[in-house]
């Protein structure tokens, strides 16, 4: 069984944003060289699992803080394994890129850039502790496009503390004005331990959050984007193939601190902590890993959980039977689900209530 999707994690950030609970290290840039060596070592150790690579995702953290020479070495290491037309995405914080970096990435085989914009409203960027101005965000997108990437994507947030529907509307207009190929628009999750959560920042009102979500979907659809996943929108052909692999329950290999891999019925997560990671690989050991074995039922339930996120129908032959087949008729009757020859699809309304529908169909215990 060979894996064709590869995630590479870069944990470094210049500061931690108020909402972020990712595996990140700040004030640790001096560890970048050692980290790169370790990451390349882990790649070598795990290479036997890889076939032709269809998609690569350089995520973070802030991968662009690794700077051009290190990223070039990393990309060179995987380049020989890339399939024809492979998708290679890098996450980028706008304030960390310039034309030279973007050109180097393009030349090293990166095809897709995903910018963390979050908002174009200065007061929200401040509330979220973001480092870039709206102008830096716009400039980065323009620059990436001019450098010739196949796809340019932007990440935005909704239901941020203090965000009004008017704020959202303005962000929608500013986003559409930039005409990115792909948009990820996430509802802010108040994660325990983040500074926003510890400050007791207000969570959005249930109705306002619903209005924001519905408004975002219709505005982006009206502009020609396909609502292909719960929080993701793409111009035709610009869907993120790497993410689609996750949502299709494909196998993937994740390398670096905090990265997760799923291969067959095995899932493992590398522990956090750059020093520990570097030391283990330096010794010739595996990094510290938390392992989990996925039994058939768990995998079936994950297929349903993931599959319902996508806009296409779920084939029962692929996903396996739902735990509560009797719920199907009820959900169809309620206008939330459509069923036809062995396939189930959420209706548009059903997609807004995806999680409720999932609980009706499946038993998570």
């Amino acid at each position: 069984m060979s894996v064709s999707h590869l995630y590479l994690h870069s944990p470094f950030c210049s500061s931690r944003c108020g909402y972020c609970a990712f595996v990140v290290e700040v004030d640790a840039l001096e560890k970048r060289d050692a980290y790169l060596e370790a990451l390349l070592t882990e790649l070598e150790r795990e290479e036997h699992r890889l076939g032709e690579i269809e998609t690569v995702y350089l995520g973070g953290g802030t991968p662009t803080l690794m700077r051009a020479p290190r990223l070039e070495r990393l990309l060179a290491a995987i380049r020989p394994r890339l399939a024809e037309g492979a998708e290679v995405t890098i996450e980028a914080n706008p304030e960390t890129v310039d034309r030279a970096l973007l050109e180097s990435l393009r030349a090293s085989g990166v095809t897709r850039v995903s910018f963390g914009i979050q908002s174009f409203r200065p007061h929200l960027l401040a509330a979220l502790d973001r480092g870039a101005t709206p102008e830096q965000g716009r400039a980065a997108v323009e620059c990436a496009r001019s450098v010739g990437f196949d796809s340019v994507s932007v990440d935005l947030l909704m239901a941020a503390p203090g965000q009004t529907l008017d704020d959202l509307e303005a962000d929608l207009q500013d986003t559409l004005a930039l005409a990115p190929d792909h948009v990820s628009w996430y509802e802010l999750e108040m994660k325990p331990g983040t500074s926003l959560e510890r400050m007791g920042a207000p969570t959005a009102d249930e109705d306002v959050a619903a209005d924001m979500y519905r408004r975002t979907v219709s505005a982006l659809e009206a502009a020609g984007y396909r609502w292909y996943e719960t929080a993701n929108f793409a111009m035709p052909g610009h869907e993120c193939r790497h993410s689609v692999a996750y949502w299709s329950a494909a196998d993937y290999l994740g390398l670096g601190v905090g990265a997760v891999s799923t291969v067959g019925s095995e899932r493992w997560r590398n522990a956090s902590g750059v020093d520990r990671y570097v030391a283990a690989l330096g010794r010739g050991d595996d990094p510290l890993r938390h392992r989990e074995t996925l039994d058939d039922d768990t995998r079936r339930r994950e297929r349903w959980m993931l599959g319902l996120r996508l806009d296409g129908p779920i084939a029962l032959s692929w996903a396996g039977p739902p735990d509560h087949p009797d719920a199907v008729d009820r959900l169809v009757g309620a206008g939330l689900l459509e069923a036809s020859n062995g396939r189930l699809a959420l209706t548009r309304e059903g997609r807004f209530l995806q999680n409720s529908v999932l609980h009706e169909l499946m038993e998570y215990a």
Binding site: E206, A210, R214, T230, L353, E360
Partner: protein, 609 residues
Amino acid sequence: MSRVEQDRIRNFCIIAHIDHGKSTLADRILQLTGAVSEREMREQLLDSMELERERGITIKAQAVRVGYTAADGNEYQLNLIDTPGHVDFSYEVSRSLAACEGALLVIDASQGIEAQTLANTYLAIESDLELVPVLNKIDLPAAEPDVHAAAIAELIGVAPDDVLRVSAKTGDGVEDVLAAIVERIPPPSGDPDGPARALVFDSVYDQYRGVVAFTRVVDGELLTRAPLSGMLSGARFEAEETGVMTPWSTPTERLGAGESGYVVTGLKQIGDLRVGDTITTTARPATEPLPGYRDVKPMVFCGLFPVEGDDYPALRDALERLALNDASLTYEPETSQALGFGFRCGFLGLLHMDIVRARLEREHDLDLLATTPNVEYQVTATDGSVTEVRAPADLPEPSRIEKIEEPFVRCSILVPADGVGAVMGLCQDRRGVFATMEPIEQRQQLVYDMPLSEIVLDFYDQLKSRTRGYASLDYELLDHRESPLVKLDILLAGDPVDALSLIVHRDFAEQRGRALVEALRETIPRQMFEVPIQAAIGSKILARETVKAKRKDVLAKCYGGDISRKRKLLERQKEGKKRMKHLGSVEVPQEAFLSVLSIGEGAKSGAKQ
């Protein structure tokens, strides 16, 4: 243990308003008499049940014997009977009183006389007990012993100097209490040579030894292995063991006239030898039993249902076991359309209900759903027959009801003058009928006749909050009175939910219905569909609210690194859903069944608008 002359015996109890220091004083007495060593001393030794300790209250009366060498050089046997301090358990107080010749009346020197001080004092005087007044907590800076000593002296008709002043906390003055017990409380006066008569003032069921009766021997003696019988129940048994609590159970060959102790009976059911029965010997039986107690009747009822239907037999077993040691707990099977099979249980009051529920959940590991508590109604049907209705769902059709009578209580509230208005307002809102008002110390005693149903829910909390904690309450059952009562139904998504029905006063039905649907709207989470909640009498809709349908329910973000985490989130959500009750297509959280208890103040029955 050697035979002790009756004049060397003192039987006494301690009575007090809650928190005035009864248990602490009992502890000091045990320590001072050497019954319990420093090492053995746990705070509030007599409050042995875990829950009692947790909530700092005394539930079960217990008797302890200690030895005390008085100033006259003689050794005395003191039998201390602890009494409960919560109004729910006031019947237990009267039990204990009947086994004593005297009582320590403990009053907090910073608080003075409270409602239960009065109630207990009257009970003790009615039972002809010698009262030894004790002002406790004199170590507190806020203590005003002189002021309160004068008031107490007046209340019970003694000289202010006769009021002892102690700190149960520091032990200061407790020696004088022991001396006063010996000097002031009369010894027992039964006939040591007559046929045996012993009053059962408490009994517990022990899985290995059967029913163990706590008893006060009035006449004659009980010998180990003597054939005995209960004069009221007729049960025959052998005294497998007689003994006393020191506070650990210590076998003795006999219990003589005037002594208190226990008898191991081997009886298999607590009903075979009830509290209030008189034990006598079969060889030489007494002719007249001792005066017993009025039967303890539960006053508050609620349905208890297992969250998991499979737990029904376990719930039945657990109730059976608890009832063995709790004569005031009753239960009968109940079937609810909404909640399935469960039991309608009877309790002395809300605290008793909470305690039983907590014990069922904790000691028997059951997940339970409780319905709104209600009182017992006497319903006279048009054909003249009278039934007792303990669940709203059991109320007959209105056309078949001649009249409904509800229990009334006499409610005594002590409150500082500036709280009188607030208390009167509250009592009137709760359909109270003013009886009397008179000053006691610097406070007023307000007496109202009130429907019990109006005080079982949150009256006490309301009273406390409206008087900033300065009011105290006591009540006793008075009679049943006819009231225009109706059944208020709650409909969820158009279907009536029997477990949510209430019996309410007609004039307050609409208001309460409105408050209840509002409370339910706040408790019931949004569902996939809109859920109308209606309150109705018969087919007449009085109030309506709507739980809006969910408009968004998605897990916002899900990437490769957090698939397991998202799956676990779904599992946790499922756990939450499991604790909900599914009524038709509506998921209702357990708290919803107690929504009446959370109805905002004023809305409860009839705050004038």
